[in-house]
């Protein structure tokens, strides 16, 4: 195996949110196969700067697959070809020399492009601020072992809570729905005894906020699960939808949803 490869990149360049975008072509030769995908882009940017040209803007921070900052589409796939891998954890040894790579930002109404491959995902936090928490003040908590949680339930709650909020689910969905993100948040709390008191109020508010933020509806194509770098399952969507229905039914019948289903 040769230690370096050549790749051709076609990158979406857009100088600002309102500006017109277009693809620009770059050749990167002699890229070390040990480099990560983002390091390859660093190399390209260094080259562009040295030529007096504008570097490509892309989001990133931890480069360990945990902060959820990075993310763009490579040849039609959110975060690129490797399953369960953020683009910062993708490595160049994955590609053959001569590969042609098309890089585009997440495309969704609720994620406006900021510049090039970088989008604004603050709409996710609007969803979380609509009840995505347990309402407990500091000083109120009982001893941690006073609330028993089975190993399996804790593990399942963790699976949902592992969502890093990168937005790949939205990018992969033809409706640009944020159903997987929202349901994972809802599902994490719904799995735990501590999350029960606000369970139905939470799901009702978060789902409604998701719509208000301009995300599309879920039509169950499950592309989101395939694109998710953390392997979040679509089962959370079915559970979330069920809870949402309950919450709405109770509300329509005039009862308080919290009282009706707590426990």
């Amino acid at each position: 195996m040769s230690d370096t490869i050549n790749v051709t990149l076609e990158v979406w360049r857009q100088p600002g949110a309102k500006a017109q975008g277009r693809f620009e072509r770059y050749e990167m030769n002699g890229v070390s196969t040990h480099a990560s995908f983002l390091e390859m882009l660093d190399g390209l940017n260094e080259k562009l700067i040295n030529e007096g040209k504008e570097p490509i803007a892309f989001e990133h921070d931890c480069r360990e697959g945990i902060c959820g900052s990075c993310g763009f589409v490579i040849n039609g796939q959110a975060h690129g070809p490797d399953r369960g891998t953020t683009v910062c954890q993708l490595h160049m040894r994955r590609f053959k020399s001569g590969t042609h790579l098309v890089l585009e930002p997440w495309r969704a109404k609720a994620f406006p492009v900021v510049r090039d491959l970088m989008v604004d995902r603050t709409s996710f936090d609007k969803i979380q601020a609509a009840g995505g928490y347990n309402g407990v003040n500091v000083g109120n908590a009982p001893d941690a072992n006073a609330i028993l949680v089975g190993k399996e339930a804790a593990g399942e709650a963790f699976d949902a809570a592992a969502c890093i909020g990168c937005g790949a689910c939205v990018a992969a969905c033809k409706n640009a729905s944020a159903m997987l993100f929202t349901s994972a948040k809802v599902g994490h709390f719904a799995m735990l005894p501590q999350g029960q008191p606000e369970r139905y109020r939470r799901v009702a508010r978060m789902f409604d906020e998701m719509e208000a933020q301009g995300f599309g509806a879920c039509s169950w194509t499950q592309e989101c699960e395939a694109a998710c770098p953390k392997g979040i399952s679509v089962k959370w969507i079915s559970r979330g939808k069920r809870d949402y229905l309950k919450a709405k039914l109770v509300k329509d019948s005039g009862q308080s949803s919290d009282d009706g289903f707590a426990g």
């Binding site: 040295n50 040209k53 931890c62 936090d125 979380q128 009840g131 735990l192 999350g195």
Partner: protein, 639 residues
Amino acid sequence: MVLDSKTPTGPLETRWTSHKGHIQLIGPINKRKYHVIVVGTGLAGASAASTLAELGYRVTVVTFHDSPRRAHSVAAQGGINAAKNYQNDGDSVFRLFYDTIKGGDFRARESNVYRLAEVSANIIDQAVAQGVPFAREYGGTLANRTFGGVLVSRTFYARGQTGQQLLYGAVAGLMRQVDTGQVKLLPFKDMLDVITVDGEARGIVMRDLLDGKIEALTGDAVVLATGGYSNAFFLSTNAMKSNVTATWRAHKKGAFFANPCFTQIHPTCIPVHGDLQSKLTLMSESLRNDGRVWVPRKKDDKRAPNDIPDADRYYYLEEKYPTFGNMVPRDVASRNAKYVCDQGMGVGASGYAVYLDFRDAIARLGRQAISAKYGNLFEMYEKIAGEDPYKVPMRIYPAPHYTMGGLWVDYDLMSNMPGLFVLGEANFSDHGANRLGASALMQGLADGYFVIPYTIGPYLSARGPGKGITNDHPEAKKAVQDAVDKTKRLLSLNGKRSVDSFHRAVGMKMLDKCGMSRSAAGLTETIAFIREQRAEFWENVSIIPKDGDTANQELEKAHRVADFLEFNELMCQDALARNESCGGHFREEYQTPEGEAQRDDENYCHVAAWEHRGVGEAPTLHKEPLTFEAVKLSQRSYK
């Protein structure tokens, strides 16, 4: 000036309770008259902001990230300590306190560390109530694991993603306050300066990262929770955007910087692969339980590791430290890796790596047992390094990881600049010269949930409500103008070198001369090099695009790197002034005949707090003596 740590007196165990009991309270109706600015949404910032808001203060939270959930705390893996004694193995507040003080090589304040141990248990309660999915036993109780350097099982964890889950808990609490309107959240804002009036903190200057607008944010107090500065070394395990700007700018305005040379280099990280390397990835220290560390005895031995017979292998930790072997503490393991590589025995393409070999453990325990213990780590290694560690030894090398130094704070977590509070990794407080594993998460949350909500009160109530300034105040306008001018100056430079190239050049030099091992000659040489690069930066850096009014990542970086180019000099000065070796600070001139760190308690048992005198000017040193009543100072030995 005399540094007053405002440490309470009396028996160690009652100091915090009695201090809290005597704090001037602010009535609930009056709390809303105070506006507190919190910078940073990591564990420290998010927990502080939500708790202050719960109490009724009006809070504005600022972060350069698009979302509070991205703060670097998210990357912490191993766990969080707490003196719960759930395992019934004899843990106690005193034991946690003692381990932390000793781990820090006796360079931290007893009172602070005791308080930290005391509130540690409450952190776990709070996190569980928020829904943090910690690991559990089948019976439903919380699980614990053991961490480096201690004899009890007190570490709580959520798989290998403890920081992520604790942060999401704290951020959920924060978003709840955003929901109620008590917290105003300002993402995409880079803090560029502190606004001071008569030496007191009155606000900050921030730049919007989307439209470039630079403006003031004023309030009654400023809380910095902006994390550590490991990226001073360019390559570190920290996130790419972690930086020193907030604390450095506060320092330039008068806040003292304490122990900047106390940095931690973690021994087990995936080594540098080449010129494009942008950061380093941590591999859990637990691997050293079964992996054996070695290098070829012969210099430049190019044979494949599995072709090198035992006789030609140098198991240097086992040979030098027969008692502790591969399990010596972080600083010792790191330093020895550097020694063998400096002598030309290092492996891999760069020659800066050592082997961590599981061959013998696999032969002894079987592949399955090893995979059950370390499966996910082996996978992560293979993803990054592209080699199967079941078949070929891992290659590892130490990497900058954590910074114990930070802005000086008193017992109330207030800096010497009145109105400026500093929490989490950004302050210097609790870890002395070396931090124990799983105690940074504990400190960040202790500061935010349980300390600052009480200790901010006395300052605010003494000033009284409604004393804040407006954005029209001359000092606010001047600070904004300074930031605007500096930004313009950066954009006007038409140089040839990228921002990264300066960061890399200076960082790599720091790593070499001010990293695991330091000497007066090396430090002096480095200071000269930093000055040279700094001067060149301000003439020859190239920032493209040239627009200041759109998202401009090169400009963001330029502001940060400009500050590293000043701060790094202070780090070297501090290392040069501390003529002893302690914890992570190893001065080659001060070692025992066996090559171990030699502390000098007579002359250096103090906190070194530096006062800024201008860029390139010699800073002034203020010493806060450390006194020990509950513990006895002792020399560490691992032979």
